[in-house]
Symmetry: C2
Subunit: 402 residues, 2 copies
Amino acid sequence: MKRLAILGSTGSIGRSTLSVVESNPERFSVISLAAGGNVDAAFEQAQRWRPRVVSMAAEADADKLRGKLKTAGLADMEVMSGAAGSVRVATHPEADFVVSAIVGVAGLEATYEAVKAGKTVGLANKECLVAAGELITAEAKKQGKPLLPIDSEHNALHQCLRGGEAREVERIWLTASGGPFLNTPAKDFDSITVEQALNHPTWKMGKRITIDSATLMNKGFEVIEACRLFDLPPSRVSVMVHPQSTIHSMVEFVDGSILAQLSVTDMRLPILYALTWPERIPSDLRFPVGDLRHLDFSPPDMGKFPCLRLAYEAAQAGGAKTVALNAADEVAVAAFLDGDIRFPEIARTIEEVLGRTPERHPATIAEVLAADAEARRLAAERIQSIAGNKAGNLRPALASHK
Amino acid sequence: MKRLAILGSTGSIGRSTLSVVESNPERFSVISLAAGGNVDAAFEQAQRWRPRVVSMAAEADADKLRGKLKTAGLADMEVMSGAAGSVRVATHPEADFVVSAIVGVAGLEATYEAVKAGKTVGLANKECLVAAGELITAEAKKQGKPLLPIDSEHNALHQCLRGGEAREVERIWLTASGGPFLNTPAKDFDSITVEQALNHPTWKMGKRITIDSATLMNKGFEVIEACRLFDLPPSRVSVMVHPQSTIHSMVEFVDGSILAQLSVTDMRLPILYALTWPERIPSDLRFPVGDLRHLDFSPPDMGKFPCLRLAYEAAQAGGAKTVALNAADEVAVAAFLDGDIRFPEIARTIEEVLGRTPERHPATIAEVLAADAEARRLAAERIQSIAGNKAGNLRPALASHK
């Protein structure tokens, strides 16, 4: 019986995790849950799973949850909030496996504390590796505990890497769907609308990651995550566009053999893999191999998608540059979604922030958060200057979004 | 340092094996060689590799080789012939790894004796698993030694199977190029010429295996080999046509994950893998992943390619039926190559022989060889009756071959 702590329980990964638990009640129990601001969903999960502790992002929401639980006769359940609550959920002494799926830097501290507390961690939070990967992987190594990737590409790589030793890896190939603008000419990028950018061809995901897929920044983040998770330099992590997203990634070994992982595009599969590793248990998540007809591939166009190039540059520098890459991207994507900047300005904003970020290596989570805040400030500064200058010009392209 | 015995050293696999040895002289030495009838090639190999013993198929060739070696100042090298010579090569006390690549049932006894002598065996001889697989896998299990497959599909499966435990395998997917008649209408099969059948789209191989690829019987043999090598019923071994032969095979695990192996179509890669397993060592056999554009798949048409269906039926029955499948195919393919029967008669001959073969399980290699001889007799009988009846009719279709 694995005893789970779930950080981000009411989000997409959190809900998929609980669906996997539901299908395998004899294997998993739920010890603690950290939710965001959805009190109703948190209440339902608390009722269903009876965790020892639930945490909400805001104290006001924790209070609301306490009220609901009292009415339901569950007044004894511990309810906390904020960073302290997430850390309590992540380090609960009864939990042995922590699913890290809080979106954004909010998940950093709790995940780091979980690793420090010797928990096995399933990683779905991008920032843990992009912004704080050097700290978190070092701590996991020190603890002798695995970091199990819960996203389709790195989970695929984890599976393929079983085919050899780490020293036998020549190169890692991350596949990318290419996003909705794979075949859009670069000259049309200026007029891309938010609706177009949110229309991802293969995965249904949150808004930010969908835009990050459209710019290929998501693949850039994955390059950085792969470097840190599997201890490889960026020069040995390559990207291939593969619109069907059937092959989730590949590992090329020194002898010339390549192992690839294929499966349905359903996050429950990498979650199940991480939760049961080193075992595999049956699921109904079957890819219909007999119906397979065509798989297409092409190299990524870094000229058209400068975010991927910027990610490689940040990966090479490491430290504060990767913190800034993530922070500037989050701010720029939010500005694009709000209609404040055009699509190509996302990359330009990030490039400017990277240029203004000094090369240094944060030694603590607090230093990571400080670098993150500084990059956000720089990004916001630039966006304000563009949005201020061009507000009139932007309206036509954004009309369909607002 | 691995010390090799090579059964079939002057054949295609034998030569590729020696090319791998040549590239890695610090890892491998050559202890013994068994050649067929090519005295010049055997002499060259003996001079280059200085094995302890060389065996030729026929005593007359062994004598010729002795003469050449004497002239070259190598009179001390032991030269043997026939079955006793192959067995001596396969069981030489100084050899620890035996490459089994003699074509046909001639390789059975020597391979079985190698397994019995506790050698690690790399299997390239199809008959070892198709005709005598039940005996050879049982003996390998008893010895606690691995059988390492040296053909691209089973070698690919061996690699993919590292991604989980045997009990976690749901299904094996063998890929098939589909051969030269993938898109030929069944109605045109009667007029297929030998040249057309020998024109394989992706692999350059010997004549029999090329014809077996054109009928899909080769894939049928591989189904049987996979069942025996990986201890699976035929119902859990499937075939998918994949004309590019880039994905060499796939393993589907119970959780829904599928691992696939990709590489260049060069036999040195599976040979290198088998010789170095469980390690992988660098090679220059690189598949250009960056140039990958399209992979195509389709289900096999068992109506058009009845040999595949016959192989599944034989696999289900096991024992003498699989011996007969291989023997009848070898005789029928030879008759097709000689212009004695038309292409569709290959399958019809095998079907008749299978129907006349009783279900029984040979308990010794001698019993396997007896079942083999009986099936050959039945196949020859039928071919004689067809060729006798239809000789006049066959000439037009065969004109281009003779």
